[in-house]
């Protein structure tokens, strides 16, 4: 870390309250609260969807009504009144934009505060293309033209349904079916928008694709649906960043992400999640209940998940990989930081089906205050997965004597040529390490930040450059006030 970085850190440490707690006053088009078939029809009609998609949604809704809320998770399931949520919110003036000047200036300033100034990025000549999701409707997709040249489709889900219905129909729900779990069913029924990416055969996506999610309107759940398809020999790196303004009422976020990697394809999916975690007493905050799953469908394909989770009152997700193709590779790198009364129950699933498949899991949990942080993971080797290989490491760091760190790994092997390793450690930050840094004139808070960053390095290294810096800052900000 160089000097300027340190200064930025210091500055940000001084800010006590949740950094991204502001709201944007834009007229919203909010549907009345409640979940019903009519609501699903309303959303579908609003989005001008074809008949088959409406049927698909209705089927999901019926599943949702039949399902019961799970009880196995390691936190108390909050009482969510599904009838008290508005399932559709869109900025009233759907901006028809060709250049950034036409975008509502207030919206732009929101993004500026978030640290993704669209203008600047446009000037910076296409390092990152951002499909900014403002509540439910994708407002602005940058660099689409440029991507179009190489044949990459990167658009909002709604547009994809209109323009590429065949692709959507073929892959929607193929990785996460409507019946997968109760929140996946809910999402399938009421999802409002999301991102769609298709990388054609042999194309190496020329830039990092990125989407910022934000929850803005009160009492609107956000139900995103992301579908990424990498055709034979394609490569894409996708970034998802999340911040949400401060709200006192709990808000539900139940997204679904589906990744499909065909032969020799590679998908890298990175997330930095910093939604409002609730205040010091655990009031408010986002419920982040997300289903993320990828399938390595073709031989020699690869899917890699990287996540930095610092926000949300409850984080509950298991980005998984189904290793179906022979020689396919799945990776999962995670840092989850919880403080105050936050809860995180996160981990991954690696389902080995193909021969010579490999997976690697690195999970780093940090819990402070009264928070609880759980790693829950599954490594499953099916009888046909000859010579499968897995390495799992999940470490936990505890700060304070009233927090908890928990590990629930499931290791299931039904093939005698599999080689698996799993290791986990739990400890607190070494007093000798802090003492060493204190001696050298670094105060305790900064010392902890330094140690945490070193501890999480293995995961942060996996993030693309811009995100790595942001994630590093985020970890330090999140920990302020937890030490000493």
């Amino acid at each position: 870390m160089n000097n300027t970085n340190d200064e930025i850190l210091l500055q940000e440490l001084a800010e006590q309250e949740y950094k991204y707690g502001f709201t944007t006053d834009i007229e919203m088009d909010i549907a009345k609260k409640g979940l019903s078939e009519d609501m699903v029809r309303f959303i579908s009609a609003k989005k001008n969807e074809p008949e088959w998609l409406l049927e698909w949604r209705l089927k999901a809704l019926r599943y949702f009504h039949q399902m019961e809320l799970p009880t196995w998770q390691n936190f108390r399931h909050p009482n969510i009144d599904f009838q008290d949520i508005s399932y559709y919110a869109a900025p009233r003036k759907k901006p028809q934009v060709n250049n950034l000047d036409e975008v509502d200036p207030e919206l732009l300033s929101t993004f500026a505060k978030l640290g993704i100034p669209l203008d600047e990025q446009k000037i910076l000549a296409g390092v990152v293309a951002v499909d900014a999701v403002f509540d439910s409707v994708s407002v602005k997709t940058t660099f689409r033209e440029k991507l179009k040249e190489v044949g990459v489709i990167f658009c909002s889900f709604g547009e994809a349904v209109q323009e590429h219905p065949d692709l959507v129909k073929k892959y929607l729900g193929s990785v996460v079916p409507q019946t997968d779990n109760v929140y996946a069913a809910l999402n399938a029924a009421v999802f409002s928008d999301g991102s769609f990416v298709y990388i054609p055969k042999g194309v190496n996506c020329p830039m990092e694709l990125s989407t910022y999610f934000r929850i803005n309107a009160e009492n609107t759940g956000q139900f995103e649906r992301t579908l990424i398809i990498a055709d034979d020999g394609a490569y894409v790196s996708y970034l998802e960043g999340c911040t949400a303004p401060m709200r006192d009422e709990n808000q539900l976020h139940a997204a679904v992400v589906e990744l499909v990697a065909l032969e020799n394809a590679e998908i890298k999916y990175s997330t930095v999640q910093n939604w409002y975690p609730g205040d010091k007493n655990g009031v408010g905050g986002i419920f982040n209940f997300v289903t993320k799953r990828g399938i390595c469908k073709g031989n020699n394909s690869k899917i890699s998940w990287t996540q930095v989770e610092t926000g949300s009152a409850i984080t509950w997700k298991y980005p998984s990989v189904i290793l179906k193709g022979d020689h396919s590779v799945g990776e999962f790198y995670s840092v989850a930081l919880t403080r105050n009364y936050q809860m995180a129950d996160t981990g991954t699933k690696m389902i080995h089906l193909g021969k010579n498949t490999r997976s690697r899991i690195i999970s780093k949990g940090i819990s402070a205050g009264f928070s609880h942080n759980s790693y829950r993971g599954q490594v499953k080797i099916s009888p046909g997965a000859d010579h499968a290989r897995n390495f799992t490491q999940c470490d936990s760091l505890l700060i304070g004597d009233r927090c908890g760190a928990h590990t629930f790994p499931y290791i299931e092997t039904r093939n005698n040529s599999a080689l698996l390793e799993h290791e986990a450690t739990t400890s607190k930050i070494g007093e000798d390490q802090i003492f060493y840094l204190n001696q050298r004139g670094i105060n305790s808070e900064k010392a902890v930040g330094l140690i945490i960053n070193g501890y999480a390095k293995e995961v942060l290294n996996q993030l693309p450059m811009e995100f790595a810096v942001e994630a590093q800052k985020l970890l330090a900000i999140s920990l302020e006030g937890s030490v000493g």
Binding site: S396, L398, H406, T407, P409, E412, S417, T425, S427
Partner: protein, 433 residues
């Protein structure tokens, strides 16, 4: 599924329960505990695979048949020499179908050690203090069932400072050609500063019928007590076992559990829970599981750190052959007050059979920050290079494999403090391959 259950063991037990739970025959407090437990069992029923703790075990085949609930020939002569451990100086205590048989057992001359059948212990002070005080706090339906309806078992108590000069060898024999559901309940109370080696061996008499055995043991270690507890499962395939061992430790005490399962018994489920209930306690669990054919062996352990400055060490090795299945579920809890805890857990698996399966769930739940906890789990098979190395030096393949398995098990066998038991276990491992 439910309708099938009601026509089988469950139904039998419900029919038999009123006789057992009739007031008057036993002290009232005791009958109350039994009735309460039976209500609990009825409420829970036999576990299904939907329950997390029973996820990998299908009990339906076992409980969906009728058993005889009582031994028809209680005094039958039984040979138990097969269970004897060469070179081990020991007192033999023989249990046939759950019932203690003084006529086949040695009497213990060491002062301060009391052995009696459970039925005679109901008036003992220690019984009232400790019975059903630990195991019944769990939600294992088989413990509730055992508490409600057991008729047999052993009560062993060690007075303050008493030391067993020889190992106490409890031999559990299943005998008789009828299919039997037997329940055994043991209570072992180690007084302050007492010390003992306890070996439990499970065997099946030749020609014995199918049996399902539900054993619950509560072990209490008072201040500075020391106990080495060896469990050797060597029964044959017609026998199935559900065991629950609950250990409660007080200050400065030491408990070592060595849990060894060998090819034979078609179904074994062991629950071993150690509660480190006071400060400065050591409790260690070691296990070797060698399975063959279509055996299913499931070891569920809990190490529960309740107070500071305790240490636990757990190491389970599974060697899985043929179409057998091994399950390991190890939980370590470190409660809020249990600062300065050292807890270590490791599970290593060697998958040898083409159709063998391993399910492992090493689990940590930690609520205190000043602790050192780790767990590890590996799954692998014979190292081809090691095999080649040995064969290049003129060692036959079979011998080489035995050598490698020995080496694999060595981490655990080397912890055995009793030399005779250690040699015996190493021999059984060799024979089981």
């Amino acid at each position: 599924m439910i309708t099938q259950l009601t026509t089988s063991l469950y139904n039998q037990l419900v029919m038999a329960a009123p006789d057992c739970l009739q007031p008057g025959q036993e002290p009232k407090t005791f009958t109350d505990i039994r009735s309460q437990s039976f209500r609990k069992f009825k409420q829970l029923g036999f576990p299904t695979m939907k329950l997390e703790d029973w996820k990998y075990i299908n009990l339906q085949g076992l409980v969906n048949q009728s058993y005889s609930l009582e031994d028809s020939l209680p005094g039958r002569p039984v040979a138990h020499e097969r269970a004897h451990i060469p070179g081990l100086a020991s007192y033999h205590l023989v249990m046939v179908n759950g019932a203690f048989r003084p006529d086949l057992s040695d009497s213990i001359e060491d002062s301060g050690i009391t052995v009696m059948p459970m039925a005679e212990a109901l008036d003992e002070l220690l019984f009232a203090k400790h019975f059903a005080a630990y195991a019944d706090k769990t939600d294992n339906p088989f413990v509730a069932l055992n508490t409600a309806l057991f008729q047999n078992g052993l009560f062993i108590s060690f007075d303050k400072g008493s030391v067993a000069a020889k190992a106490i060898h409890i031999i559990h024999v299943v005998a008789g050609s009828e299919s039997l559901f037997s329940q055994t309940r043991n209570l072992i109370v180690m007084g302050p500063n007492s010390s003992a080696d306890i070996v439990e061996t499970f065997i099946t008499e030749q020609g014995a019928g199918k049996s399902l055995n539900n054993l619950v043991s509560e072990v209490v270690l008072e201040e500075s007590a020391r106990m080495q507890h060896y469990i050797l499962q060597t029964a044959s395939s017609q026998s199935s076992y559900l065991t629950h061992t609950e250990i409660h430790q007080s200050k400065y005490s030491l408990y070592n559990n060595y849990n060894c399962t060998f090819p034979g018994a078609s179904f074994v489920r062991n629950n071993i829970n150690v509660r480190l209930a006071e400060a400065d306690v050591e409790g260690h669990l070691y296990g070797i599981t060698l399975t063959a054919d279509d055996q299913l062996v499931d070891n569920h352990t809990i190490v529960d750190h309740l107070k500071p400055h305790c240490e636990s060490y757990e190491w389970y090795k599974n060697i899985v052959q043929d179409a057998s299945t091994a399950v390991f579920n190890g939980k370590i809890f470190v409660r809020e007050d249990a600062q300065k805890t050292n807890a270590f857990q490791q599970n290593n698996n060697m998958l040898i059979g083409d159709k063998s399966t391993v399910y492992s769930k090493p689990q940590l739940e930690i609520f205190a920050d000043d602790v050192k906890c780790s767990h590890g789990c590996t799954i692998g098979q014979f190292n081809e290079q090691s095999l080649f190395y040995l064969r290049a030096r003129g060692i036959g393949e079979e011998q080489a494999r035995i050598l490698l398995v020995h080496a694999f098990a060595f981490d655990v066998t080397s912890r055995f403090s009793n030399e005779a038991v250690k040699n015996y276990v190493e021999r059984l491992v060799e024979e089981g391959l």
